[in-house]
Subunit: 245 residues, 2 copies
């Protein structure tokens, strides 16, 4: 699904930014990169900064005109500052992720456009975008690096993509292999604790046990952890018995 | 509110990454940066890559030990791969943002830890974190640049901060009066536990302490609970001393 989302960089000044953007894309599962009239082509710097994402850089399609990069796309989203005259079409990255994934699911081809490092997209380009994507940055310092912006947007695309997958995640499957202590086992532990620390004179009222119960309930104690906790109680008891003899 | 969230970078190899991370932080409204034993100090490269965020770089606090960077924090979150033995404490950036902002609202000081460029955090460091933050990256290529990871996490912190958090749940209201133990206090407790149970012959290798650390990190131990746990250790010690005499 993410394969149907294209990242387009317009007149990028620094080839390093192309490499970093490619890396950012690939970490989030995107692959399709278009470069419109880059100031520096794909060079050693671009490859170096792409780290293991040199395939994305090498497969990048270089075109001379903006229109060539979007002609086959039915949904075009352009990054932009929070401009007043665009306010009706402004979206943030999270919404962008949701809209793009929905569109792809409906068979659309999506392009997300990132402008020049310093001046972004020009007005003509902005007018070719259905939505205008703005990152809710610190108003006092909103200068995100180009590749950072690509990273954030691709992250939200991936998050929206992952949310569409309802099947049990790997995490849930793995979780079944953890065995939490049963209520009964916890109860034995609490009784054991209370017995021992009463005999030590530390527990003299119910308050302490209530607090300990709350703590260990909250912790969702696993069986192997409970074994350790019980072992600690027994270790203390043994020493007390030893001294009694 | 974002001022009470500290970003900690551990043994960063490249000073450029420090600069880029500072820029990423500032674009999202964060300012407090701690550097633990950076391989390259703050140099021209760090300043250059910070762009307009050189104030964040120049105000960074440099310490030699991890503990110094977290000792006054009551919520410590460490970035990590999706490790099996951490599965109970794994969170993703979005959840991290929500948890951190909730904690800050309750008066807590939060630290988010980013490990070394290649190898991340070591096991000992991971054990000092209550939550383990993992970015849901492309499983086939999950190699995010350090500053990119900082950018994503700070973005989610900002998003959580900007969201009009609706009505505080009862739980949250109650939480405002709760004071969690600091990392330093927890560390004293672990050391105390280890000392005592080694002397009792129960602890003979590192495995037990690692499991206990994981359990108590997960539990988010409150100060009054920690007082009880320490009191229990002392109660045992007193009896041992008594019998010795």
């Amino acid at each position: 699904m993410l394969d149907n989302i294209r990242i387009v960089l317009i007149e990028t000044s620094h080839s390093g930014n192309i490499g970093s953007a490619a890396r950012a894309m690939k970490t989030m599962g995107l692959r399709e990169l278009y470069l419109v009239a880059p100031k520096q082509g794909i060079d050693q710097q671009a490859i170096a900064l792409s780290a293991g994402a040199d395939d994305v850089v090498k497969n990048a399609v270089i075109v001379t005109q903006f229109e060539q990069a979007i002609s086959d796309c039915s949904l075009v989203i352009g990054t932009s500052a929070r401009l007043r005259h665009l306010q009706n079409s402004l979206i943030e990255p999270r919404q962008c992720g949701e809209i793009a994934i929905q569109s792809v699911k409906c068979g659309e081809k999506v392009a997300i456009i990132f402008g020049r490092e310093r001046v972004g997209l020009n007005n003509e380009e902005l007018l070719k975008c259905r939505y205008h994507l703005t990152i809710p940055a610190n108003p006092e310092y909103s200068s995100l690096n180009l590749a950072m912006a690509v990273q954030l947007v691709c992250y939200e695309l991936r998050m929206a993509f992952l949310q569409e997958i309802p099947v049990a995640t790997i995490e849930n499957i793995v979780k079944t292999t953890i065995h939490l202590a049963t209520a009964q086992q916890l109860e034995y532990f609490f009784e054991h604790t209370e017995r021992l620390y009463q005999s030590l004179g530390f527990i003299q009222n119910q308050g302490v046990m209530q607090k300990l119960r709350r703590l260990y309930q909250r912790a969702a104690v696993e069986q192997n952890e409970l074994n350790i906790l019980r072992g600690m109680l027994t270790a203390v008891e043994k020493h007390l018995d030893f001294h009694k003899e």
